[in-house]
Symmetry: none
DNA sequence: CAAGCGTGTGACGCGTTTGTGACGGGATTA
DNA sequence: TAATCCCGTCACAAACGCGTCACACGCTTG
């Protein structure tokens, strides 16, 4: 069984229990100014707060990179707000990517799973644009023409899957499988509701409707 | 053992060896302006650089599509930077998708595996062109010279069937059978209505009228 | 030129599919 | 623990697709 070790700064690290999902075990631990409290086998994921009580997040980030025990960890910086300059600084300090907080367990797991499934390749497409739509895998955020689209986790996964298969009719079954929802079996009509919610979210960010209904078949993400 | 043949433009094609992974053999070869150096059996994947020494990537992409030996290949365009307009152009030139480079072997394999596992049922002919008309089977969408034609399912099937039998008179019966409508029996006059609707749809996308009536016989899809 | 076909097309109505507000259970957060 | 959020399902109304009809127009034939 795969194990993924997740380290978090601040309170969050304390409050989370270990967790199993999809044959994979996740361990959570607190990340202090000296790094992780215990050393572990397997992939490590560190989420570093931008502001911390004892230490600036940037400094911790540099220390993690400098320490051979944690140099290989995947480091995600947690920002309070979406500031371009902060992002640059985070990446320069050695972070692999960033999220705009606040961080919940769901957000953490979503990220870890998303990045894992995209493969170990660090420079894989983490971000892609389709027309006016930008999907940023690293920040788990989508934008329409620079306006952020407020998406719930399921909606983001849906959008991602659709956008990864553009110009191709996806049946409701495809979509259910694509989001990895085999158990419990999902009513196909539910997909319509997903689509409706996703459309509304895109629309309320001022976006168009790239999701075309193909009657009696499914849906397509349409590119220009 | 499955074999997947991967063709790459530029240096990358030279530097990679054949490779085995998960019961599957991958062969790598260089892709020049004239297409692949050697011809192969089995699925083909071409990764085309946006910029190439001898030839623009877009042009190569079009050539691959036009060449019957490579028309069925899955073509991925490799972009240097994230430009929305370039993406559109790539897809319009016949690329199936795109990545933002730089490309490594890992990135290539990840992508091929991901696409293979998703699109298990790749239709034989994903897309074909007849003059200004393009028919995209995967997206169930037709375009006249880059303008989408709004078609209902039945109209799409009709257009597809006509386009698959160009320059050949199809009787109303042929058309009814071609669309697989045996039950319940369809009035032949209904075909006239189908044709009329299809013509209108093409026209309102700015297209011409490739559908010629052959009095007392049926209809022809006219090429040239 | 008249009569007779063959075709184009607007209109209609039925059956099906889709969109969506509402609800409730379950998980998460504070 | 209470409050909130997320999400799957349901039910109903609206939208849609499509086959048919009916009539007008045009072409053919005598």
């Amino acid at each position: 069984m795969d194990v993924v070790n997740i380290f978090l700064t601040g309170e969050l690290g304390e409050s989370l229990d270990d967790f199993v999902h999809d044959q994979r075990r996740f361990t959570f631990d607190r990340l202090g100014p000296e790094g992780p409290r215990r050393l572990v086998e397997g992939p490590m994921w560190a989420f570093v707060d931008w502001v911390m009580p004892e230490l600036a997040g940037l400094e911790l980030c540099r220390r993690l990179r400098a320490d051979p025990r944690t140099a290989e960890a995947h480091v995600t910086m947690v920002l309070d707000e979406d500031d371009a300059e902060d992002r640059r600084r985070a990446l320069r300090a050695g972070a692999d990517d960033y999220v705009v907080g606040p961080l919940t367990r769901t957000a953490v797991l979503d990220r870890v799973l998303a990045l894992q499934s995209r493969g170990a390749e660090r420079t894989a497409t983490r971000r892609f644009e389709l027309g006016e739509l930008t999907i940023d895998m690293a920040a788990l955020q989508a934008r329409w023409d620079a306006t952020p689209i407020v998406l719930r986790p399921n909606e983001f996964r849906l959008l991602r899957f659709l956008a990864e298969n553009p110009n191709r009719v996806l049946t409701r079954e495809d979509l259910i499988n694509g989001l990895g929802k085999r158990e419990p079996p999902i009513d196909e009509r539910t997909v319509d509701v997903w689509i409706g919610r996703l459309r509304r979210a895109i629309k309320s960010a001022g976006g168009g409707n790239p999701l075309r209904t193909v009657r009696s078949l499914g849906y397509v993400f349409d590119l220009g």
